[in-house]
Amino acid sequence: MTPNATVQWFATGRRIFRGRWLATLGLAWLVLVVLAAVFAPLIVPYDPLEIDPVARLTEPGAAHFFGTDHFGRDTFSRSIYGARMAIVIGLGSVVVALLVGGLTGMISAYFTRLGAFLMRVVDVLMAFPALLLALVLMTILERSVMNTVLVIGIVYATTTARILFGMTLKLKNEVFIDAAVCSGAGHASVLFRHILPNLISPLLVQASFIFAFAQLQAAALDFLGLGLPPEVPSWGNMLSESRIYVTRAPWLLLFPGALIILSVFSMNLVGDALRDSIDPRFKNDIKGV
Amino acid sequence: MTQSKPPLLDVRGLSLSIATGGSLMPVVRDLSFSLNASETLGIVGESGCGKSLTSLAIMGLLEGTPVRVTGGEILFEGRDLLTLPARERRRIMGNEMSMIFQEPMTSLNPVYRIGDQIVETIREHQPMSKTAARARAVELLRMVRIPDPQGRIDSYPHQLSGGMRQRVMIAMALAGSPRLLIADEPTTALDVTVQAQILKLIADLQSETGMGIILISHDLGVIAETCDRIAVMYRGRVVESAQTRDLFARMRHPYTRGLLDSIPEPDEDVERLPTIPGRVPGLDERVDGCAFHPRCARASDICREQDPAETAFGGGHAGRCHHPLEPDA
């Protein structure tokens, strides 16, 4: 990134977050989560998978900041690695939803005949109860990080397709697109070089909400025993495994619970701030929380 | 001149400002005028000159906007509206004084029948049964020359044409038999033929009821046709005011001249229509001296340095200009 671009980024950021101290705090928290995820191996005092039957259900203290679970695994270390899973799930779901849903929506709006069919398919899928569909898909595909990301991504792909369909339709009729078509630009070029750049900021907003929702969906799937493989240290798995310890070892629910809530809340705040700063034409297309 | 009865409306030194962040930005400065019953005052100016804000201030509709009254008083039959408790003031609004707006398309609530909207106004101010109020609404619709008022009373706004909707707005404004009617660009959104009908209707209603009218428009032509007196506003100030005949006979302010010149004559070639050069400076731009000087051909050094004070030209004709035009014939 050139220094100039960096300056511009900062300026944009300042404009979006100015006067929004809560959203700024949210952004700061998310940065912290990303740092924890990236440097997890350097931060953690224990291997998150290391079993220690002697130290099981230890209260939070100097040896174990967040205590230990019923395997005697260090909750703090697992929480830090949980940040990794949160990022993987969030980003993964966003990528799947935007790729599958975004492309479907854009193409449907651009090629009207194909679009009529594709959007009909999207309609059918939208009629499916999202969580139940996710449960059935997870049972078919079996539990894995990849499959969880895929399933959550696909569930949000339908709404993303709808939103992108609407926004592309609006843009398609604008003068500059006509101009591009008249000057002989190909379909791909019009879609990706002329329409897409105008959709980047609303897409970013949609992405931030998907990121937040995906955390809750993944936690719900974990709770129902159909999410990430149980050995994966994710916040959802930690909660799900420890739910019986709510009175016996409350730290097992409080710490990962607080981490999920804070992260989802932060992402929602940031998404909200982003939404207020985007093109008013698209503001009402993205519902968010 | 007897002062036994106060004028219908007397605006004295009214100042309005927009609150932005921590600071106040003046938009209307030291505005004064008065209006008697049966009289029509025209306020004319380009958009952004503060004429609409002035009308909102008089109606008490500034609440919810960032605009604040920072000085002056608005006397309605001697009572200062600005110091009146909200409840008292609402008793006057829509009753003793009422207002019609520029956009008849959007000024009516699309989800209610027009009859219900008129009835709502009537019953808000007069204890009346629903049936009686409905009969009164039919009568009002008849007053504003809506054909088949019995049939139309149950229409939704979107089922009516623009002119019809504006008639409904007027009917609604007349519900309380107001003594003051403020009409903010009532015809701007309408076809030329409909425009004339509406203006005629307002004039007819005035002669029937004797109410005072403030007509706000950017169109000097419209104003000239209907008003007894005219106030020309520029950037939050009245720059020239006079009896209509007097103003057109002896135009003193270069801005008024410019406005007049930009009215198209029916036989004139539109392309050669003169316009006032430049644009109205933005509110956040600071202009020293006379606010009009950047666009004024007659501007001199004093115009750039000193804000001109109001000069009386005689016969109720007054203006703010260092270099007023010569009163020609």
């Binding site: 009909r120 109860p129 129902l224 519902k287 | 609402r90 829509g94 707006f101």
Partner: protein, 315 residues
Amino acid sequence: MLGYATRRLLALIPTLLAASLLVFLFVHLIPGDPAAVLLGDTATPEEVEALTREMGLDAPVYLQYLYWLGNVLQGDLGTSIFFGAPVLSVIADGAETSILLAVMTMVWIVILGVPIGVVSATRHGTWVDQLASGGAMLFASVPTFWLGLYLILIFSVSLGWLPSSGYPSISDDGGLANLRYLLLPSFTLAAPNAALIIRLVRASMLDVQREDHVRTARAKGLAPWKVATKHVFRNALIAVAAAFGFTFAALISEAVVTETVFSLPGIGRLVVQSILRRDYPVIQGVILIIVVLYMVINLLVDLAYAWLDPRVSLK
């Protein structure tokens, strides 16, 4: 309007056929064998195979689909493998819980979401608004089961005010008072959805507040509360109505987690259990019914639009 509704219902047929095919395929892709689950740990492969044959699960999948579809068209969703009872009656057993839970959740959403949204909009920009909007978003960020767990702990175990779990039918001993069993679950389920409604009510009211006709209403001398309810909220309702409809449709399936935490005999938990038991006919039946419900609600939302907004005409 009747003609419109009929046309719309007819247009649903191809969509429903597509949906039914998808449902069937998805369900039959689930690995596992209902016969094996039913017979338990000690069954021999021969016994499992015999039962599979008996249940008709050894036929080619497309034949199974056509057979199932034929029955569905006659209003027969098949027989539950696990319960041995008609799927429709198994679903009907859960329907009472699910519908009452959804209705009570909607009540929470309305009594929490609408007033807070209205206050938030009328006090736009003040601390009240910030507290309400921030609070709504915070509630929407809490995992449902986590919230439910703590509500049980506080209101049932510690305070003993409300039942912790289960739901005896209102036709059972106790009658309508049994609805208290649904108070905590419906609140849990309402929390994130109420947040959505708060934000939607607030946003639509802010949009409407800027409209000219609201100024007209104020110019009439109407009291602020009359303007807010009769003119602003009434018009904002048009945008909110759709959200109400879709929220209701989504609640039936979103309730899965809540029904699990509170051990409610609703349709959501029925599906989860049926997936675990590989009770194909029940899974198919429930999903199909929810799809139909969604589409009917879609239609109702459109009808509601026409009713709320005279500008909309149904064609």
